[in-house]
Symmetry: D2
Subunit: 284 residues, 4 copies
């Protein structure tokens, strides 16, 4: 598989956007291998993802953005250009529960997830041995004397130092400050263990059990300052019954958390997600 370029575009809907983008790519020798487009009719909003081969492209990678800028300007686009062999630098934050962390590390080590794991961090010391086994930096950032601000500062410094592109909250149970959420807006993915917007907040499996639901779900979303309210990337559910107590819901939910978080991270690093108000467009 040779490298490809990916243009991810959103703008007000107008005549000729697809033609303009596709013509730009073709004119420079790029063969389109995947194109998906979506128009939101209510808001007259246009979304597009174009993936094209770079083999015969007649521009250097570093010059493509500049060459594309006039097209983007013409249609008032918000846009990004990425290359398939760029490796997103990912930090994984976890608290006590290890399953999502282990799963991401496994997918990374087996090559399924094309990223660099730049850091594993936790408010607990528990995962140090795991990080060492995977040969990844580990940051134990405890909350000392309840000073969350100080701890967050330690986290932020570590993320900057390692030039992290994406922070994954892999069952990280500390609430992050609005400032942190704003800084990492659109680059901060959380897995919440309920089918949002049901059961926001603490102990969703207990809430689900009390309510007597017949399915439990999980939600991967971009974290925002509004707790459990950010744009949803992916969700899934599993059937439960009266036979399942809270511990069973937790166990069944873990398998969902793992797969849904991995799908969301995969979509993000594949440049397949556009945030759009509190909604997302996810090109599959």
């Amino acid at each position: 598989m040779t490298a490809t370029g990916v243009l991810l575009v959103s703008c007000p809907d107008r005549l000729g956007i697809v033609a303009a983008v596709a013509s730009f790519v073709a004119a420079h020798g790029g063969n389109v291998i995947d194109l998906q487009q979506h128009t939101d009719h209510t808001d007259s909003a246009f979304f597009q993802r174009v993936e094209f081969e770079l083999d015969d492209f007649d521009l250097e990678r570093a010059s493509i953005a500049e060459a594309f800028a006039p097209v983007a300007e013409q249609f008032a686009m918000q846009w990004t250009l990425r290359f398939s062999d760029d490796r997103c630098r990912v930090a994984v934050l976890a608290s006590k529960e290890p399953h999502c962390l282990h799963d991401l590390l496994n997918r990374w080590r087996t090559g399924e997830l094309h990223v660099d794991i730049a850091l594993v961090a936790s408010n607990h010391a528990d995962h140090r041995a795991t990080a060492e086994w995977y040969d990844v930096d580990y940051l134990h950032a405890p909350i000392v004397d309840g000073d969350k601000g100080a701890q967050e500062l330690v986290l932020r410094d570590a993320l900057h130092l390692r030039q992290v592109d994406l922070v994954v909250l892999a069952r990280y149970m500390q609430i992050l400050s609005p400032a942190f959420c704003a800084e990492w807006s659109g680059r901060l993915i959380n897995i919440h263990h309920s089918f949002l917007p049901a059961f926001q907040g603490a102990r969703p499996y207990h809430q689900a059990h009390d309510r007597g639901v017949k399915l439990v779900g999980v939600t991967a979303h971009y974290a925002t300052a509004e707790l459990d309210d950010g744009p949803i990337i992916d969700q899934d559910v599993i059937r439960v019954s009266h036979r399942d107590d809270v511990e069973d819901l937790r166990r069944k939910g873990r398998d969902l958390e793992v797969t849904v978080l991995a799908r969301a991270v995969r979509a993000h690093v594949g440049h397949r997600v556009l945030v759009y108000g509190r909604r997302t467009v996810v090109f599959d």
Copy 2:
């Protein structure tokens, strides 16, 4: 398939309940063909469903309850006894949308649903021709001058007159009074077009679209005076994407509404549901 008896039992958990019930059935010549039992450990609550053949049972049907009473008393049981060839008398209430109504009528006519449809009622005149085609009584009970109380009285009389056992709200969009809900408690099944407790109240597909969820769901539940808060019998979901507008959610949701409501009605008339606080035990 010969007729069977079904004992549905709940009581405080104690030693020997299964043995007592099974011994009663066996002592009278009843062969157990299906037994399911559940203990809720948190509340020390016991639930059981026993289905047994009547062919060689040495008591008349009319005498079984009396014979069982001492067993029930010993364990402080709440219990019901039904026979598989009892046909539950069902009234179906609908407003404008026809899909759930049609579906129940079709399942009834093809023999899949072993009930008697005693009445179809609506606050609109729309479904009269349908009811006639299926040869079922139709009650058009409009709300005149906004007098919901008067309309509900008409409904209640019609239900009593036809000795209805179960009222199914097949996309009936009028809120019923607390008195009505109380009278029909545990015998009033509603289909709500969201994955409760998410999106309670009006226009759940609009709410779901605004929130940008990646799955939409439906919930069949016993209606109570608390809107959309009664014990859940069954739920299901279907995947949606940014490509689906509200109309698409409605369309995809309709297929779910139809199947989930039918499953809930089937469970109820098969004497498989025990209400337990705001939860249910559904023996499958």
Copy 3:
């Protein structure tokens, strides 16, 4: 919703196809509202669906195909052009079981399915009253003295007479001749009550029960001369257990048959399906 045009294209993969098609549409004033593209890398095959608004299109509908022909020729395209307000003329064939037939008729009558039902036909007389209720022509085409050829001739004449575009086998249990399948190739949709390629041939629910599977499935596919081997359009499954006998599998399967067949018909009449060897591309 105003009318749109849909171009459905397949051809060998080459540089510039998307640009050429999109530029054609844009040059004539057509705003693209939905574009999906797929490249099969193994076979270097290119597939595309473009839907565009006709409001400001500067060509008459009747002239679009001629204008597009040079573009199509340049890339050796196989292609079709349809308009969203074209109503596909559908014939539904059923044998004894009514559920798929009823479901399609309901979706048609409620306006969910944008087609004309030109004919309901069966080798049995059973569905005449149903067809009359829906005000659709009914053809009872019995097989007399085992002469299937004669019966098929009756069917074919009826289909031609009514200028049918699509034949839906809605649990039609007669095997059609290779000549019939060839004539209706790509316009003949069957629902098979198993998860193909498992349980081809007769009595798949019995086969599934014997094998002890934990899920049963259904498959909507284009029928070909090879029984149950045509290109698959859609499939789905439902969970079953040891508690389900063959009759339960049938019941659970019916709900799947209905929804999966309806989804396949919807995809076909929305010009979303391209056949590709024994596979399909289904743009959703």
Copy 4:
């Protein structure tokens, strides 16, 4: 959670079996906390699982079987008695692919899976470091000069030496001899990466891709001498599309393989599975 006893029973159907078993348990002071029963009407076969508390049981564990024997004899039962704190001794066999192995080891280490992992074995050396990290014995049993018989002998000795109760084939790609399958009959669980009986044999994801299916599945089953034909314990599927190439099917399938194998192992070690011809009864 205190320890419980589990009786797993199958026998010809007759009057009074439930009563006899439940009365035995109650007479000795055992409180039933979970009872499930199933009758197969076609074959008049009876199946039951009874789980009861041991706290106030008036027999020593070692004496229960002897005391129960007369009841079992009366009804010609096949039966087993296990205790919830018995830890099944499990050997996991893998070839190259690590995902199922890792997953089982993780579930074991986090305490979700109540077993002892007695051995990890492979025909490759790949997983030694993994086994060491989890502090589990590792056997590298290569096939030398194509002598599969000799390798199998090494495996069998290792399994006997460690008194293994259950062998899990966690993507072990070597075909085991009929003698081995017979010796481990009912104690040998395999995960096959297709929705059996579709795509038996080699390279099922390639087969699935060639056939153009719209769902791929996996099957956990007891391995028998007939390849991919043993009694099915659990199955699941995931949606795929024309966009997914064989590598995508593999990736999506891996998540299923992991969860379905884990569910099957959990059901087996929880004494919830009865084999019944080529079918299974799985009490959930």
